[in-house]
């Protein structure tokens, strides 16, 4: 390809006019299948590159992209722009590197002030009393659920737990702004979303105890909830793997033209994973209706965000991928609700991804295997637990509207506590899954090698029952 672009504009006239693959790959990865016509330069007009509508129908993308260069290119006086692949860019004669990050940080959207009073200039619509109360009582339920299950782990009744302390507003308010048809792909700190959708306290307890009533059949650690009837995909431990999967779900919804979107949650730490970047990029190119919801709670186990990235948080990364983004006060119920509602509409109506970064603080430890006082100041934790608590802040707002009072509060807490204690007791009594459940669902139907292994294990258990847990049903 002996074309010197610097010396001759006439070289740009060398154009393949046959319809074919859309755009040149500058680094040709397919060298091993390179036939002679691939090695010729194919230069196209990139004015059509940004057409989005191509994805919506069965139209051929190729014909929209492979147009010959316009004759105006001959105009030597216009030096400001050039049709590089990817679009026109303005030139500059000043050598200047962009700043490493913008001087002004992306502002954070909020509706309630620190004390829970609605800021006068906010533009949100009021929510109804019913919804407001439901939001509040769900947040209280979530907080109590977390406290009591965490205690149960400390007592040795379950093996592991992690709380969403401090992130109740994110959990409940975002869930409330979605419809039940929206598919959720969680990380692991979003059980409030599941709670909002109708997962019962008993169902939570069953999963934690891994008993026979657990929908996961005792196969996953506690907290790894999943419910296909509530459109909540089972939690998978590795971070950020759900992000490209969410793009796939959105792709599926887009194909069916459904009035629904995919929503995936992840933390600040997960935004460093490769899957995050690849997933966002893919969603933008695909124009997939997915909401990427980042819970920036400041800590990834013991890694603070300053050691996680150097950009202006995660919201700044959206633009790099061509995704509209917003930063929101994650401890402000109304702001989260509003942002998610708008994002959802954008995602579905405009068929595009949206990125939301909710700033908050992880009040609890990373999990029951962690003691966060080892790496952060107790005063810091206390401040976020009390003065900046999303529940009490929102409670102020609800009470100032006359929709809640102390009596209802103690009644609610008493009732939830009773239900939780009961759920734990019941879950503890239910038997563990059968041995057969060790081997089912690995494949759609059990293959002969697994049948053989099941047989072998059963025989061994029958021969040496004292070596196996008692009460283990075969």
């Amino acid at each position: 390809m002996a074309v010197c672009l610097k010396t001759s504009r006439t070289a740009l006239h060398y154009v393949r006019t046959r319809p074919g693959p859309a755009f040149t790959h500058l680094l040709n990865r397919t060298f091993f299948s390179c036939s002679s016509h691939h090695c010729n330069p194919r230069i196209i007009s990139t004015n059509e590159y940004r057409v989005h509508s191509s994805f919506l129908g069965l139209g051929s993308r190729a014909s929209q992209h492979s147009k010959a260069l316009k004759v105006e290119d001959h105009d030597h006086s216009e030096n400001e722009e050039w049709d590089f692949p990817g679009g026109k860019v303005p030139f500059t004669t000043k050598i200047k590197f962009t700043d490493d990050s913008s001087k002004d940080r992306i502002p954070c959207y909020r509706i309630l002030d620190n004390c829970g009073q609605q800021i006068r200039s906010s533009t949100s619509e009021m929510i109804s009393k019913e919804l407001a109360v439901k939001l509040y009582s769900s947040m209280v339920t979530l907080q109590m659920l977390d406290t009591i299950f965490n205690e149960a782990q400390r007592q040795g009744r379950i093996s592991f737990y992690l709380t969403s302390n401090g992130e109740e507003a994110i959990n409940i308010a975002s869930a409330a702004a979605l419809s039940n048809d929206d598919v959720i792909l969680p990380q692991y700190r979003e059980h409030g979303v599941l709670l909002w959708r109708g997962f019962s306290l008993q169902e939570f307890a069953n999963q934690l105890f891994g008993n026979r009533s657990d929908y996961g059949k005792g196969r996953q650690m506690p907290i790894h909830y999943g419910s296909n009837k509530l459109n909540y995909i089972t939690v998978s431990s590795p971070l950020a793997t759900q992000i490209p999967q969410a793009v796939g779900v959105a792709y599926s919804l887009k194909m069916e033209k459904r009035d629904a979107c995919a929503v995936t949650y992840f933390g600040d730490g997960s935004s460093s994973e490769g899957d995050f970047h690849a997933g966002l990029n893919l969603a933008a190119v695909l124009e997939a209706p997915v909401i990427f919801f980042c819970r920036n709670n400041g800590w990834a186990i013991s890694t603070p965000v300053t050691d996680q990235f150097r950009s202006d948080g995660i919201a700044a990364k959206g633009q790099a991928y061509g995704i509209p983004s917003i930063r929101v006060d994650g401890n402000d119920v109304l702001a989260v609700y509003d942002a998610v509602r708008e994002a959802r509409e954008m995602a579905i109506k405009e068929q595009r991804p949206v990125l939301i970064e909710a700033l908050t603080y992880r009040v609890g430890h990373h999990s029951t295997s962690d003691d966060s006082t080892k790496y952060r100041a107790i005063e810091e934790i206390e401040q976020w637990k009390t003065a900046r608590n999303p529940i009490s802040r929102y409670r102020n707002w609800v009470e100032s509207n006359g929709w809640w009072n102390e009596e209802q509060e103690s009644e609610l807490r008493g009732s939830i506590r009773k239900q939780l204690m009961n759920a734990i007791q019941v879950a503890e009594q239910i038997e563990k899954p059968l041995l057969a459940d060790l081997f089912t669902d690995v494949y759609h139907e059990m293959p002969s090698n697994l049948q053989e292994q099941e047989r072998s294990l059963t025989e061994t258990m029958k021969k040496h029952p004292q070596d196996f847990p008692s009460g283990f049903a075969v």
Partner: protein, 404 residues
């Protein structure tokens, strides 16, 4: 094996209209409203019909590979039939499944209007649209994850790795999610994806493009692996893989794409768990798959001239192994030679050796011999590359030693 066989048989034909009840599509069981319409054929390589499907198949084309002649497997007795190359057979299978089921979609790099780097998806994008035949950015973990997410919500994606080696980037998604989510969700979510692409040692493609990924993937629980070697089984396995409810990895070989063969005009699928009897014999069982099948058959010609009668089986199913067919052969010949392209350590041959030793120890007259590539990255230089691949001469020598 009967249980899996029935599982495949249960994937009966779906209504061929392109509209479907979208409300039922997501998270309803059964996943899609299946109607039993039309017929399809399931062909066993030894010509017998399995009990599992005898009630459903209406026609059966017997697979006439039992010819003693050393020609590559002839796969049909029907007089009509059409000749095509292996990559065209893959495409035909893919296209038929996309016609039959509107949920089948393809995603990968350059699969759309470029037609795929080996032309397996050529012509599909203009026919089915940009969304169903999707060009993705270069992010294997991402579009594999995307395929998994799409599968959990009702689609049946076929994910193409431009070269199998690139799927190492998607290992996390394949192992932790593709293989596991059906299990860890308690059966609530199924992942009927097909992951396919060319692998194996080509002609001077360099070490990174000559990977044998079946070695790395074979341990992942929850996935199935098959390797095609002829246009006939390529099409059959492609169709079966798409219809399977399990995630299936279909291994193609870079050097086999231009093999020509006549395949039946009628619809057929191949059993995913079955091995193919290429050449029945009495003296020694030679187990192989993919490209090595042709080296073995070449060696078989020489062996026949020397008076040996090798039985050649193309194992096809790499996970799980078809121990039924293999076992019957071992019981007959009592000697086993495995010829593979994987490396000596941790390859398919290593696992197969262990499996046969465990199950058929009593029937062996001699230790199993496994011919594999050395534990070296594949060099670029042509002569060096050739030394890393098992050649017919080595196979002949091995058989002679085994049969002493």
């Amino acid at each position: 094996m009967a249980s899996i066989f029935q599982g495949i048989g249960a994937a009966t034909a779906i209504s061929s209209s392109t509209s479907f009840d979208s409300k039922k599509l997501i998270f309803s069981a059964p996943r899609f409203h299946l109607e039993k319409k039309g017929s399809f054929l399931v062909v066993r390589s030894d010509g017998k019909m399995s009990n599992g499907i005898s009630g459903r198949a209406e026609k059966l084309v017997t697979n006439a590979v039992a010819a003693k002649a050393d020609a590559p497997a002839a796969s049909t007795t029907s007089k009509s039939g059409h000749e095509l190359l292996l990559f065209e057979a893959l495409r035909e299978g893919l296209e038929e499944e996309m016609d039959r089921d509107p949920r089948v979609c393809v995603m990968g790099e350059d699969v759309g209007h470029y037609g795929g780097s080996y032309k397996v998806t050529k012509g599909l994008a203009p026919k089915f649209g940009d969304l169903r035949v999707l060009d993705t950015p270069i992010a294997e973990n991402s579009f594999t994850g995307m395929g998994i997410g799409a599968a959990m919500t009702g689609l049946r994606p076929v994910i193409e790795g431009m070269n199998m080696g690139f799927l190492l980037l998607a290992f996390n998604q394949i192992s932790n999610n593709c293989g596991m989510l059906h299990y860890t969700s308690g059966g609530q979510f199924t992942i009927p994806v097909v992951i396919r692409g060319p692998g194996g040692v080509g002609r001077q493609l360099g070490a990174e493009h000559s990977q044998r990924l079946e070695s790395y993937f074979q341990s992942i629980p929850g996935i199935q692996m098959v390797a095609c070697s002829t246009p006939y089984n390529a099409k059959g396995l492609m169709k079966a893989a798409i219809r399977s409810e399990n995630p299936v990895i279909l291994f193609e070989h870079v050097l086999l794409y231009n093999l020509k063969e006549k395949i039946p005009d009628e619809e057929y699928i191949c059993n995913l768990e079955e091995a193919e009897m290429v050449r029945p014999g009495e003296h020694v069982t030679i187990l192989t798959y993919s490209r090595m099948r042709y080296h073995v058959m070449q060696a078989a010609k020489t062996l026949v001239n020397k008076g040996y009668d090798p039985e050649v089986i193309d194992i096809r199913s790499l996970k799980p192994f078809d121990l039924h067919t293999i076992g019957n052969s071992v019981k007959k010949t009592h000697r086993v030679l495995i010829v593979e392209e994987c490396m000596r350590t941790g390859g398919i041959g290593a696992s197969l050796t262990a499996a046969i030793n465990e199950n058929f120890q009593d029937y062996l007259d001699a230790p199993i011999v496994c011919l594999s590539s050395q534990d070296v990255p594949t060099p670029y230089a042509g002569t060096l590359e050739e030394y890393t691949i098992v050649q017919p001469a080595q196979i002949v020598t091995a058989v002679e030693q085994l049969c002493q």
